[in-house]
Amino acid sequence: MVTSVIRAKQLTAGYEKVTVFSDLNTTIKEGKITTIIGPNGCGKSTLLKTIGRILKQQSGNVFLQEQDMKTISTKEIAKQLALLSQNPEAPLQLKVEELISYGRFPHRKNVGTLSNKDIEVIEWAMDITKTTAFRDREIAQLSGGQRQKVWLAMALAQETSILLLDEPTTYLDLAHQLEVLKIVERLNKEHHCTIIMVLHDINHAARFSHEIIAMKDGEIITVGTPKEILEKGTLKQVFNIDARIMIDPDNGAPVCFGYDTFLEQELGEK
């Protein structure tokens, strides 16, 4: 049996007076890649941020390894869970290596320089994300794709078993999107990281996830394997699109190869 690594119980969250979702329950399985999909504004990023304690919930609980996160110190959480938010912006003069080294923050004592262990992890993070080549450059000199890999390296330097990624492929070209997702896949396969991410591209979600959570209007519509989610009925319900699905003969993942909006009359009839 697969155990739950993160569990949300009657979670309510939002921004100031706006509640994005309420009484939400969900369970994330250990060692799996779980992707949250859904239309803009459905609450998928909010859910990820609340799980990652960037956003404080209005009520309800999040359990990390079955322990209420409110009872764990934030530094302890940071040793188990790393979150990469959407479009982070670092001071532009910061050097790549320096930025990545801050990922070691939760593991370090208040004073002192990097230990050998710290440096090993930083080197590993740069190696896996292929950022070693530009370790001495400043953030300002990097392209969008390189920056995203550097941020990913920083999250990896945190050396956590759980990784939360909020739209890690936004603003990247096709090749860089794939590169980032392949790194994610490798982390899951080789290092058994549990990964929870938000993606807009349902084909990427289908190809790289074990499980997909489909959200709409602050509610979880359904949870299932890619084949269960990339299906006409579900995609209609979640995105209101008329999707055409096939199976990619190369990797067996379902692919939405085309879609249309439903005509007004059709909607009117129902």
Binding site: A90, E98, I119
Partner: protein, 343 residues
């Protein structure tokens, strides 16, 4: 993994060490310069005698011990305090225009000092410092409060506008009040920096506040670096962000409040020094804070020496000198950085 790489990453940084290592030399040089040159040139032997065998009947000795020495020490301290405050504000808010004078902190201090001078004349020096700190907190509170209420109000340029508008407003009320209650003579002290009239007694009182602020600033420096990467990242790395912000504000209020109580409002030191420092030492606040303090102190003390010669033999307010350098720099910053989208 190879040993050389480990050593490379552990290698200490050269520039900050150089700045901190040579700091005593620069400070001594600045003090010497400031004591030697002024409206009245005093030779080295007299200075030596004044320090070793002070003669209260000797005019030159009195100039040195009562005016020039306190003056340069005050300039060094105030420059350091303002530069640290600016560095912390810029790091904490990720706003490159943040600084005590632009965000209304110094105006808040002067405002509360005015009020206190009207209603509690003959305040003790200790109370004066406390009032000044309360004023700093008041000014910062209003500006950041307004900024938070407005949509996008915390963006760099907008926060600078809010800060300037509120700062000007507080200054105007202070000016009106001090005219009405006929204390504008006393108050002009705080509006045109009175570095040349610094009270040695206040200087001594200010020292502990400054040291506490400095110590706290160094203690929290690493956390400010993490915060400067971004608030979400900072929380994700396990930092208690609210706590760090609270201590940072406390330091700014403490240091800026003390600085204003000592010499009045001085603009632009808190803005430009952290920028120059980051240009030299990078964005690690463990280096930015101490180096800002050194560069800020020496900069203000040199401006003070310069202020004696712009309109020789009359003194020019030191605020004029810092503004002459600061305003073009400020415009340059808006021009080059203003277009970037920043949190």
């Amino acid at each position: 993994m190879c040993e050389s790489m480990i050593n490379k990453m552990k290698k200490p940084k050269f520039v900050p060490i150089l700045i901190m290592g040579t700091a005593p030399l620069f400070i001594v040089f600045t003090i010497a310069l400031s004591i030697l040159y002024g409206t009245k040139d005093i030779d080295v032997t007299t200075i030596w005698l004044a320090i070793t065998q002070f003669d209260s009947g000797n005019v030159d000795h009195n100039i040195i011990m009562q005016s020039r020495l306190p003056r340069v020490l005050a300039a060094l301290l105030v420059g350091a305090f303002l530069a640290i405050s600016g560095a912390i504000m810029q790091g904490m808010t990720r706003n490159y225009l943040a600084s005590p004078s632009i965000m209304g902190v110094t105006d808040g201090s002067a405002f509360v000092i005015t009020i206190c001078m009207i209603f509690y004349p003959g305040m003790s020096n200790f109370n004066l410092i406390i009032c000044s700190m309360i004023g700093s907190a008041f000014g910062a509170g209003i500006v950041f409060g307004f900024g938070s209420l407005m949509r996008n109000g915390l963006s760099p340029v907008r926060l600078a506008i809010i800060g300037t508008v509120i700062g000007t407003f507080l200054s105007s009320i202070s000016a009106a009040l001090s005219t009405y209650f006929q204390i504008s003579q006393d108050m002009s002290f705080w509006y045109n920096a009175k570095i040349h009239k610094v009270d040695p007694e206040v200087l001594l009182l200010a020292l502990p506040f400054g040291l506490v602020g400095l110590f706290l600033a160094l203690y929290i420096a690493k956390s400010i670096t993490i915060l400067s990467i971004g608030e979400d990242i900072s929380i994700s790395l396990g930092q208690r962000t609210k706590w760090v912000k609270a201590i940072s504000i406390l330091i700014v209020v403490c240091l800026t409040g003390t600085a204003v109580a000592l010499v009045g409002k001085i603009g632009f030191v808190g803005l430009i020094i952290p920028h120059i420092t980051r240009f030299l030492v990078g964005v690690d606040y463990r280096f930015v804070i101490p180096c800002s303090a050194i560069i800020g102190g020496v900069f203000l003390a040199l401006c003070d020496v310069g202020s004696r010669f712009i309109n020789f033999p009359f003194e020019t307010p030191v605020g004029v000198v810092t503004s002459l350098i600061g305003v073009p720099f400020f415009l340059y910053l808006i021009r080059t950085r203003g277009g970037e989208r920043r949190a």
